[in-house]
């Protein structure tokens, strides 16, 4: 039960953290249609997070709730992929200043949704029926996210010289973080063993094919990887998450007894 829970939180934290990031574009998008599209993606993620937290809260019992789980856990208790907490820009420390880069946003959304269409697809046959139902709903949403991000990645890669350079830089920056997909955490292994979860490393070949095919169409190259494999899903994050959560949780925590 505790590992099921850990697994649900991994899925939920992924959704809430990326939802929070994508919403940062609201009012600042490169064109009005993209403002709406990213708000949509963000809304879907927040919606997925709510369902997953509600399910996790039911599993945990007691006074656990959707908002307790989202707002009253510390950064090291979050189980999201490190990839999803990174700011919309190149590699800079958390408190450095820099503008948002749309290429970073699009590349991340692509890399993640390319995985999640496969994950949600498999999770539709999870032995946890609630999770299976959430997966069916999320799959539809995520297919749209993938479609949106893939289209833009191709436009940016095969667009102008500048957009190509930015897209390539974002790919170089973010692709190493996807290595975290292919390690197996204890929670993931237990969830797989229980028939609840997906064996993500087994999806690698399909994911690689989709990524390679898309990068090729976008006239982008796939960088070699060597180095550190992030461990956000076991609670070891980058310096960025505590800033993201500090902003997200601050108001709720200032009024711990309030209902909204």
């Amino acid at each position: 039960m505790s590992t099921l829970n850990d697994y649900l939180l991994h899925l939920a934290d992924n959704a809430v953290v990326l939802g929070q990031r994508n919403a940062e574009w609201c009012g600042h998008g490169p064109v009005l249609e993209e403002d709406l599209a990213l708000a949509n993606v963000s809304l879907d993620h927040i919606g997925q997070a709510r369902l997953l937290y509600q399910h996790a809260a039911a599993v945990i019992g007691g006074d656990a709730s959707e908002d307790k789980l989202a707002y009253f856990r510390e950064p090291h208790e979050f189980r999201n992929y490190t990839l999803l907490e990174l700011p919309h820009r190149g590699p800079l420390v958390g408190y450095a200043a820099a503008d948002r880069d749309y290429a970073t946003t699009i590349v991340r959304n692509f890399l993640y949704s390319a995985l999640m269409v496969m994950v949600w697809d498999k999770l539709q046959s999870s032995s946890d029926e609630t999770l299976a139902a959430i997966a069916a709903k999320s799959l539809k949403e995520t297919s749209y996210h993938l479609h949106h991000a893939r289209d833009w990645l191709i436009r940016l890669g095969d667009g102008t010289e500048e957009s190509h350079a930015r897209a390539q830089a974002a790919v170089n920056h973010l692709l190493p973080y996807t290595e975290e997909f292919w390690t197996s955490s204890e929670a993931e292994r237990a969830a797989v063993a229980a028939g609840v979860g997906v064996d993500v490393p087994a999806l690698r070949a399909d994911w690689d094919a989709l990524v390679n095919e898309t990068l090729a169409e976008a006239t982008l190259t796939r960088p070699d990887f060597q180095g550190y494999i992030t461990e956000g899903k076991v609670g070891l994050h980058s310096e960025h998450l505590s800033f993201l959560l500090g902003e997200m949780q601050g108001l709720a925590r200032a009024h711990p007894n309030a209902s909204w």
């Binding site: 809430v16 929070q20 919403a23 940062e24 609201c26 009012g27 600042h28 998008g29 490169p30 064109v31 009005l32 249609e33 993209e34 403002d35 709406l36 708000a39 949509n40 963000s42 809304l43 927040i46 919606g47 997070a49 709510r50 937290y53 959707e66 908002d67 989202a70 707002y71 503008d99 948002r100 749309y102 191709i154 436009r155 940016l156 095969d158 667009g159 102008t160 500048e162 957009s163 930015r166 902003e247 997200m248 601050g250 108001l251 709720a252 009024h255 007894n257 309030a258 209902s259 909204w260």
Partner: protein, 312 residues
């Protein structure tokens, strides 16, 4: 002329003017100005509420807020489309906004300083907007009237959501109640000013009325808004910050105090607390997005060329 007579007859009969119909240049110009100003208001209006998305105190409220701000962007989109049917492109309208030539609703030049501002904007600002906009659903220009029907429907939904959020806060902690009262104090008078200057000082109104673009006077709309809002404030348990506000049995309306029109005009003229920030933020988003739009355009051209080559 014959065309002019037909136009006037259509207006007189409360009929709809459509894009392909002949219309006087001044009518066209007035509509483009009004619709694009309305569209700009939706886009700029995303910023004050957007200010709280990252900090919404529950996931439910976060989702509601994102959806609401997204709706505002959507309104902007179909209002720009309605204006485009009059022959003015979106780029040209945006250029008007970014250069400061075109206006947007002055209410968005005030800051959102606490979370309750989000609810109060829904309740009062959207409430006032709806009062202004419902008559536009019967506007003489068809595309605008149809856009407004959709806008008003969604705005009503936002207004109810805002009010509901405030109801929950007013049943909460002392701090939550204080937030709501603080937000109401800051927004009440600004919302009354949203209906525009008193009828006596309102230059455009007469022609607008004759053309069926405007249908109810500023003061009448303002009175209607106040009469509708006072009882809601009582249910909510907040005090509206106007000592002169009281029921006038003889008029069958609420009397109210003096609006600070100097402050209003000063803000319209560009000197409100957030005018510079709002405009600079829109301009920056547009400029920062140039390379993205360029990329999309370049890619579309390449695709076209490829299609031609394949066809050849």
């Amino acid at each position: 002329s014959e065309q002019e007579a037909a136009f006037e007859a259509r207006i007189a009969a409360d009929g709809r003017i459509e894009p392909q119909d002949w219309m006087p240049a001044a009518y066209r110009k007035t509509l483009v100005r009004q619709i694009s100003q309305h569209a700009h208001s939706e886009i700029v209006g995303m910023l004050p509420e957007g200010n709280w998305i990252s900090r919404a105190p529950s996931l439910k409220r976060k989702a509601i807020l994102i959806a609401k701000v997204q709706d505002e962007g959507g309104h902007g989109l179909y209002l720009y489309s309605a204006a485009e049917t009059l022959g003015t492109g979106r780029d040209e309208m945006l250029e008007g906004l970014h250069s400061g030539k075109a206006k947007y609703s002055s209410i968005f030049n005030y800051p959102t300083l606490n979370w309750a501002d989000v609810g109060v904007i829904g309740w009062l600002v959207d409430g006032a907007a709806i009062m202004n906009q419902v008559p536009l659903c019967r506007c003489s220009y068809g595309p605008y009237a149809r856009a407004m029907i959709r806008v008003c429907k969604e705005e009503s939904f936002h207004q109810r959501q805002g009010y509901e959020a405030l109801l929950v806060m007013m049943k909460g902690t002392e701090e939550q109640k204080a937030m709501v009262q603080d937000a109401v104090n800051r927004y009440w008078w600004k919302c009354l000013a949203m209906f525009g200057p008193p009828d006596a000082d309102s230059p455009h109104s007469a022609q607008g009325m004759r053309w069926g673009i405007k249908r109810i006077s500023n003061d009448d709309l303002r009175q209607k808004f106040i009469d509708a809002t006072v009882p809601q404030a009582k249910v909510l348990g907040v005090t509206l910050p106007d000592p002169d506000l009281k029921w006038n049995e003889a008029r069958g309306h609420y009397d109210y105090g003096q609006i600070d029109w100097d402050e209003f005009w000063n803000t319209v003229a560009g000197n409100g607390p957030c005018n510079k920030e709002r405009l600079a933020t829109r301009v920056k988003a547009h400029n920062d997005g140039q390379w993205v739009r360029d990329a999309a355009l370049a890619y579309a051209h390449k695709q076209q060329e490829r299609a031609i080559k394949e066809a050849a």
